[in-house]
Amino acid sequence: MTAVQGPSIDTSVLVRIASGDASAFAQLVAEFQPIVYRWALTLADDPDEADDVVQETFLNAYRKIERYDESGSVAAWLYAIARRTAGQRRRVIKRRRNLLSRDSAAANDVYLTDPGARVDRERALSLVRQSLSALPRKQREVFDLVDLQGLTPAEAAELTGAKSVTVRANLFKARAAIRSRILSQHPLYDA
């Protein structure tokens, strides 16, 4: 199983979750929410959708906790769920809205009380949108996994269920698309 970067957690926590221990589930969410959100930023079509993907990913993980295979890492298992969840959300016409209302999420939003952090966040989101939103989903995903998260193309292929050659092709296309605007400033650049 591919070693997806993420926090490590004792598998006994998953056993406790399966037996209905709410505090164990809270522990899992606290540990993995940042990395799942990080994945969701590239798996979702829009960074604004990422919060919803995170929420549903944990909901699906909770429901399918018995299916966790101990031979793999929790991070890889959650990545697969996040990926599937993002895909389902795209396909479902009538989306089930997130269980936390946007208002309640905003009430906990530290960025409302810290203008500096809010500006930084908006700047970061803008950069993410600018760089990734125009890319097809598969290109975006492999670019993030390989170039930004440091997986090898083979690991990314295993994680996404694609052929290694397809991953490489998507990777090259993604790089070219992301860099084309910069490279076009070169006088000899010919797209």
Partner: protein, 194 residues
């Protein structure tokens, strides 16, 4: 292995190699030392991707994890309840359908299965006479009254109670006929039904 690369080769490499490969490439490094245009775009490419990685890493989720955990637990409970109710409704629908089918098809099947067949020998009645006598009483679904030309008997397929009634009617009629004529010879046999 080429000693140096051109701007076109440099641009091609900058478009497809990873940031790490660009940084470690000796040929690109040599070229960018002498070409300010390539040097500039290479720097921007690397800086842009480094910024993008940092931006993605810096973005933290807005929702409170404890709240997510609570909400997910609640949603999972609701989902389990909804699933239980769904199965309950499916079960109820199945039971209703089973009873409905049983009260129509099953009832018919049971009635047909209860039918019995019996042959009554005739001494003073013809099969046609016997048929005319018992036919109004043989009403069950799937009933039948059969006779063959030249055979002084009638075969009846009906419910046991109907067979008993038919037997009684035939016996009474034959007894009456015997008393009136003294004895019964072979009954007049009419031609069989077409």
């Amino acid at each position: 292995m080429p000693e140096s690369i051109t701007c076109e080769q440099s641009l091609k490499a900058l478009a497809t190699l990873s940031a790490a490969e660009i940084q470690s490439s000796r040929l690109i490094a040599q070229h960018t030392q002498t070409c300010s245009d390539c040097s500039r775009v290479a720097s921007v490419v690397l800086e842009r991707e480094r910024s993008l990685g940092l931006a993605l890493d810096s973005l933290s989720p807005r929702a409170d994890p404890a709240r997510i955990a609570d909400t997910v637990s609640l949603a999972a409970e609701r989902h389990a309840t909804a699933r239980f109710i769904k199965w309950l409704l499916v079960g109820a629908m199945g039971a209703t359908a089973w009873f409905a089918l049983d009260s129509t098809i099953g009832d018919h099947e049971r009635k047909v299965a209860a039918l019995r067949t019996e042959t009554f020998p005739l001494k003073c009645l013809s099969p046609q006479q016997a048929e005319g006598l018992i036919e109004p009483y043989i009403r069950a679904d799937g009933h039948g009254i059969y006779f063959t030309n030249g055979v002084a008997a009638v075969t009846v397929r009906a419910l046991p109670s109907e067979l008993a009634q038919a037997k009684r009617l035939i016996d009474d009629a034959q007894l009456r006929s015997a008393m009136e004529s003294g004895s019964c010879g072979s009954p007049t046999l009419a031609p069989a039904k077409p």
